[in-house]
Symmetry: C2
Subunit: 349 residues, 2 copies
Amino acid sequence: MNDAAPRPTLEAVAARAGVSRATVSRVVNGGDGVREPLVERVRRAVEELGYVPNQAARSLVTKRHHAVAVVVAEPESRVFADPFFALQLRGISKELTAQDNQLVLLLTEGRDDHTRVARYLAGGHVDGALVFSLHLDDPLPGLIQRAGVPTVFGGRPGWSDGTADVVYVDSDNRGGARDAVRHLLGLGRSRVAHITGALDQTSAVDRLDGYRDVMGDADPDLVAPGDFTPAGGERAMRELLDRCPGLDAVFAANDLTASGALRVLRERGRRVPEDVALIGFDDMLPVAEQTDPPLTTVRQDIEEMGRLMARLLLRGLDPSPAGPAGAAPAGAAPAGVVLPTTLVRRASA
Amino acid sequence: MNDAAPRPTLEAVAARAGVSRATVSRVVNGGDGVREPLVERVRRAVEELGYVPNQAARSLVTKRHHAVAVVVAEPESRVFADPFFALQLRGISKELTAQDNQLVLLLTEGRDDHTRVARYLAGGHVDGALVFSLHLDDPLPGLIQRAGVPTVFGGRPGWSDGTADVVYVDSDNRGGARDAVRHLLGLGRSRVAHITGALDQTSAVDRLDGYRDVMGDADPDLVAPGDFTPAGGERAMRELLDRCPGLDAVFAANDLTASGALRVLRERGRRVPEDVALIGFDDMLPVAEQTDPPLTTVRQDIEEMGRLMARLLLRGLDPSPAGPAGAAPAGAAPAGVVLPTTLVRRASA
DNA sequence: GACTCGGTTGAGAGCGCTCTCGTGGAGAGG
DNA sequence: CCTCTCCACGAGAGCGCTCTCAACCGAGTC
């Protein structure tokens, strides 16, 4: 249907500039060791011919692809369906393209995809991988780790409790949860309940831990299991209200959960925040800002998480600059980086 | 940090199986014209060595990359931040991987990125592109079109009013809008208002056109400009209520807009749907289901749109099967494919 | 039984690039 | 003025693969 003119090669540029292929190559790749007049001539030839290097040929010899895979496990799950992930992707993309790397997106669902992805990564088509997987029992991270591709994880993987040499970026779920609960206590509330997230995900576990850090072993009846969905929030809220009618505050594991809880609170005639203060997590805008009252919540800098993941990976790939005096000891990559969270006060608490 | 064993090459497999490189290549690529015993021997060698073809080397000679770029213009905009896009991406991904193609994600913002993307595409690193751009005046689609890469657009591009040979997939915004308005009329409402979307996007224009198809040139005061955001919806709703206190139904250009309108309606003491029936567009779940009352809205099969885009592109790339008796005349690609919408009845209308 | 023919296999030429060497010329040193 | 060094440049090998083409082999054919 199209397939027009064959794209110009190094050879063509060389001919036009009246130099050798090697010289053109040098110019194209930075131009060190080539005298100014020649550089200029080559540049012009490149320009005139509209030359663009053939990445395949280049990769063939350099073994670098300037491409990074972003693996998202189980996209039906929460990761993919909310703006959270879109933002992270944006951060990743920015950082990657800033360093002239491409982003290869790999979405998986189910076993078949696991092996497909593992093969692909092991196949050496990309220089590294950024992996998102929420579930503790997901075999994918393990497979990937074994594939021998440099990898950075988004969120703390379940099987790495600070031990192994796994590189990941996470936000401070535990600290954020503590802040939320403390805020509630600071408001003079004392019977603070918690609706957990899906506890097969580290973020949910960490948030629960944060709650416990502050509340100690308060009344265990004040904790009800949720699953990060509005429906789960409703269910848990009913349960809590039945069990502990006297509760005066709720910390929900995320904003979606909080929105469900909010509906039940209203239905049961509790005023928010007067009777019950409510606080969420994520600061998922379309939800947090649209509820009535708007949700007080814990925000994470999602885009920055993405950037950081990419930066970490790229740094690990590139055995070069080392900065002023060697920023970080060569082999010792930072195992996990945890980004701070901030409390966003709106009307619900 | 790692870089372990060099991966086995075709040569290695050939040696192990006691055949020539050519034969291994034939087997790896389908095995036609190779006798069974040999095929078996080669297969085993591949297995034992864990051989994975080097895609770079392959691309170098075949000029096919088995990779498709997905270009998303202006990710700050609505496209990227909502689940809409995530779903579309999922559809694309499924279709692409089913045919063993990779998905290279290109996010752009601003001029610099435009030229970067154009260069990348023109550079022949991918076999084709799927492009999302919402704004009528976006120069990117034009640039891409000129880059000579096979392209399918998501959503009807502004500059192609059915004329040019542009391939795109869109949902039936106009028809969906008509359905919505007719539904409202069917409910016995007569003063049906419309809050438009951002009119620099074809989807918004099409929805407005659909409204007009049914309402004729009703009272122009019944149309107020929005911008696809909740805030825009609030503003427009206030305007409408001031101008036409007697209105009894509102068709909002999308769910976000509807949620804003809903808030204003409640604030002004109008009951929904008793006093004013309200209907949205998109069926953006976290919004449409969470409002009070839940939103009646027009749904599009987003994931299918994605799949279809990918399928269209791939079909255009592959000059092969042609199906039973040549499904479609070779050169005559279907210019635009428009997917149907369905009305989802909830409580608001 | 010599000959042809369709089908299988191997040899070898590149695809476009990078990178190692070797060469030649300009400048420094004796 | 001649040698030694250093640096800019070109020649050429090869990255791992596909694909054309020639060689070969067994089965028909006359």
